[in-house]
Amino acid sequence: MDNKDIKEPLIHITKRKAIPKKQEWTIRLLSILFALIVCAIVMAVTTHLNPIAVYAEIFDGSFGSPRKMWILAKELSILLMVSVALAPAFKMKFWNLGGEGQMLAGILATAACMIYMGKNLPSAVIIPVSLVCAVLAGGLWAFIPAFFKAKWNTNETLFTLMMNYVGMQLVAYYIIIWESPKGSGKVGIINQSSGAGWLPNLFGQPYLLVVLVALAVTVGMFIYMNYSKHGFEISVVGESQNTAKYVGVKVDRVIMRTLLLTGAICGLVGWLMVAGTDHTITTTLGGGRGFLGVLVAWLAHFNPIGMILSGFLIVFMSRGASEISTAFGLNESFGDIMTGIILFFVIGSEFFINYEVHFRKSHRKEAADV
């Protein structure tokens, strides 16, 4: 009788102690495997397509040809840089949802330099000037909310979010000024005939430069976060602002400095897109990467190297989605559904890595299994 008096719940959840890396990764990989199986079932039931063929096509979307691999590398590089830029802010528990606006600030600054200087100055002048302008513009876009946060403790989530819309409207305003032809709402390729302000193709590869910069930024950020005093301060502020103050860290300075860095990298991304790859400006050039980057950074626990993996997953799926929409006539939304299922499992797996689920056990098997 004594045992039955205590009502044990059917399921209860406890926080795990640290588990070995190997086990962590097993859980992650299994979650992806499960996700693929669930996707396959959904696919087979709703579209009557052969899931294996669809998966092969998705793989093809990223690796089907050298060009596709380059596009994958470019897309991954850009997303990765945004994620890497956002990571220190998030690690500091500064909820920067303004990556999009910070990119747009860099995009706008670069486009302005290319348009106004393109006729009179050589690329050798335009490129460095536009780089500086873009980095400053992006930095400023992040610094403003950081300054208000540091001085008056304003809500940075709302502030950075709203700065996105300010940036978007500014870009929309300048598009009307720069549009060609008049009334069309499009700027088109900037300096298409002269190529003024365009970044050079390294070894004939238009996207190689972006990839190299992304690698440098990622590695640089990894070192900055893990081996520098600044990086240490960021993690202390993230753990507890009071502790940080107690040990003599100037919290407001750390916030402003870190956000300046975040914004500067986002501005750099904008510069790479306008001067390096796209050579145009639209309000949607950021492509939602400012938000996607948050997801990528969180999935990787703010580890820049881990973000290569989580970023790859996102870009790989989105490239695959457009591939299957062409090959099978599936709407691209189907790709989004698949990405949604995979993310659901991957994020869910983090739960199982951090927590353990216990089922009520029958007393006979008590010690048998964990």
Partner: protein, 399 residues
């Protein structure tokens, strides 16, 4: 624990096997003709893109060539990348459907001189001087004019029935941008209406977007409240037609029939049929013949079409009248932009320099009023009529 997981996976795989094997593959390489590609801004959920996709697929089937459709391609570097992918897949001719794709198509055309690039609605082919880059459009102003005639007849019917007086015959028009394509569209529509209803006037509002359902609906409602008794639009959503159906105001639509959603108010719609162009360009590419730098489809080529007339909303005798006007447009006895039929600032125009060659400063460069009428879509395929004529009142050009 591990063993359990593995067991579960094995079970799942076993369950999956029959499902997998029941689904057939999908290899749709048709015929041994050439491969052609189409780049679309959106997918089949947009009426604008659907119009291109349907025409493309029909033409590919008819000619026995393999068509590859790439959807949701933004007007940026993605367009160039996608064009490159289509080249990799072996396409010998590639089409794009959105105005903003133009520069990226030109970029691709320069890189792949052996592949033909055809861009709908663009303006630069005749000045770029590339042998493998081409623009196409349709003389949709003819279709707009015909649709305008149907609108004018509806106004006349309302005047005769005593619903409105002649001086209240005001049309409302929901436009996207203040761009020549839109200006040409609403002006030809207005001239069509006024050719049968002399007292007609028109208010135009702009949304600043090609697709913004809310703004288009609000725009139509604003026009209706402002006293417009008939609505037409040049934007791609169902916003304006829906607003008309709710308010019981007749609507002349665009791109396709909206009769299913608006059975009481839809009169007729004009649309571009891209099949004749696709057939022309693909056949030329197959035979190794040159494709025109600018190709303008007309009523005669079958590129400009009207949908079925909704007898419930249209005025009596509309179909007969439209046939008559259509014949006049084809034989040249009627010109849409007849300089004698409109005035600007109170005076008739005898000369006008239009900006046909796109440049950053919009320099007027070509005399377009010859033989007493404005020659639209003849010096290049995309419209360049950008005059603000009397009788049309622009409400909000600043969107």
């Amino acid at each position: 624990m591990k063993k359990k997981l593995i067991a579960m996976l094995v079970c799942l795989t076993m369950v999956m096997m029959p499902i997998l094997s029941s689904c057939g593959g999908n290899d749709s390489d048709a015929g041994d003709g050439i491969k052609v590609g189409l780049i679309c801004l959106h997918d089949e959920n947009s009426t604008y893109d659907l119009n291109f996709i349907n025409a493309f697929n029909e033409t590919c089937e008819k000619l026995g060539v393999t068509g590859i459709v790439k959807t949701n391609v933004p007007e940026g570097q993605e367009c160039y990348d996608t064009a490159g992918e289509l080249v990799d897949e072996g396409c010998s001719i590639i089409f794009a459907d959105s105005f903003g794709h133009e520069d990226f198509m030109i970029q691709a055309a320069k890189e792949y001189p052996e592949v033909q690039f055809c861009h709908a609605t663009g303006t630069k082919a005749h000045t770029e001087g590339l042998d493998n880059y081409h623009n196409a459009f349709a003389a949709i102003y003819q279709g707009r004019y015909l649709a305008g005639v149907a609108a004018g007849m509806k106004l006349n019917e309302m005047i005769e029935a005593g619903t409105i007086t002649a001086d209240k015959a005001k049309i409302g028009y929901v436009g996207a941008f203040t761009y020549a394509e839109v200006v040409s569209g609403y002006t030809s529509f207005f001239l069509g209406a006024r050719s049968v209803c002399e007292s007609a006037t028109m208010d135009v509002t702009f949304t600043g977007s090609w697709y913004d359902e809310t703004a288009e609906k609000e725009g139509a409602n604003k026009l209706i409240q402002g006293g417009c008794v008939l609505i037409s639009q040049h934007a791609d959503s169902m916003g304006a037609p829906t607003a008309c159906e709710e308010a019981g105001v007749p609507d002349v639509s665009y791109n396709g029939s909206t009769v299913d959603a608006c059975p009481n108010t839809f009169i007729v719609a004009s649309k571009i049929n891209w099949s004749p162009y696709y057939e022309y360009a693909i056949t030329a590419a197959q035979n190794g013949e040159a494709i025109d730098a600018d190709w303008t489809g007309t009523l005669e080529t079958g590129s400009v079409e009207l949908t079925d007339i909704n007898e419930k909303a249209a005025a009596a005798g509309t179909a007969e009248k439209l046939e008559e006007v259509k014949a006049g447009l084809i034989d040249g006895s009627i010109h849409v932009f007849d300089a004698a039929k409109f005035t600007k600032d109170g005076a008739a125009l005898t000369s006008y320099q239009a900006d046909v060659d796109t440049d950053a400063d919009y320099t007027p460069d070509t005399e377009v009023i010859v033989d007493g009428y404005f020659h639209e879509s003849e010096f290049r395929s995309a419209p360049y009529f950008d005059l603000q004529i009397d009788g049309i009142n622009l409400l909000d050009t600043a969107f």
